[in-house]
Symmetry: C2
Subunit: 165 residues, 2 copies
């Protein structure tokens, strides 16, 4: 647990008695695994998803087929709909969604390996962060990098939301 | 990727053109993350779940409330219903489910920290493995141990099922 951002997030959730739901594409379960490394994480975790396929993004998160067709699975629109879908379809107070390209295949000029969109949502707000990491990085290194960025973004998002309550 | 069991499993799935769905409780997403460390894993992965709560085990996997009440979430019966529920509710050819106690809290005399039930299923078969690891091990070490045991069990299960086809 290098920078312990997961413990900081867990403490925010414990103190505020809030829950978190996660939907992952490119990170493949790693974000969920890190967030459940924290003892007592069952207090804030009910259900997390690894929605790799387009059909699972539609069925379990309510992402629109037209969104996937128009913008692609790796897009800010899809990340937003994944995060908002978690809020709508689960009882979670906060939601985190990841969609990107961990490689080594699947990249293109427009959407290279290392690109990720991260959606964070509450019942009142949704934000999407786009980040590009080095396309030459190994798949597993990228998954770890994506995960740390997603958790840092979630931490700042939750702090902002709790401040606005 | 220490023993590369995930690559061996992936190769079996690639060769046979089969898919895998995973539902995790105590491993919290780590099994899914390891299985998606393999490049090309989108070929065999559509949807994986981290079903921490009882309600999510019922809603997404079809585990019966009576099973949870009678035997508990950490039981061979629940592991079996989680794995069979994946086969029934997703298009997956193979399913893997984990339910156990990663600690440090939540253990009891009958069901100590370190206990795990692992369910593996296909359309024709289901098996459950019970394993007890050292209760004094750290939560994250237990999650990693559970994951390696689950993947070893899955590998043997898939080989057996493919041999019987």
């Amino acid at each position: 647990m290098k920078d312990n951002i997961e413990i900081k997030i867990a403490e925010l959730l414990f103190k505020s008695n809030k829950t978190l739901s996660i939907a992952e594409s490119c990170t493949g379960g790693l974000v969920s695994s890190v967030m459940t490394d924290v003892s007592g994480s069952s207090a804030y975790t009910a259900i997390n998803f690894v929605t790799y396929s387009n059909s699972s993004k539609m069925r379990y998160l309510g992402v629109k087929e037209s969104t996937l067709e128009k913008f692609g699975a790796v897009s800010s629109q899809t990340a937003q709909e994944m995060a908002l879908g978690l809020i709508a379809n689960t009882d979670a107070d906060f939601a985190l969604a990841t969609t990107g390209i961990a490689g080594p295949t699947g990249g293109s000029k427009d959407k290279p390996v290392g690109l990720i969109y991260i959606g964070a949502a509450s019942k009142n707000n949704c934000r999407v962060l786009m980040q590009s990491l080095d396309s030459n990085l190994d798949r597993i290194v990228l998954k770890k990098g994506f995960t740390r960025i997603a958790l840092g973004f979630l931490y700042e998002f939750i702090i902002g939301e709790l401040d606005n309550e």
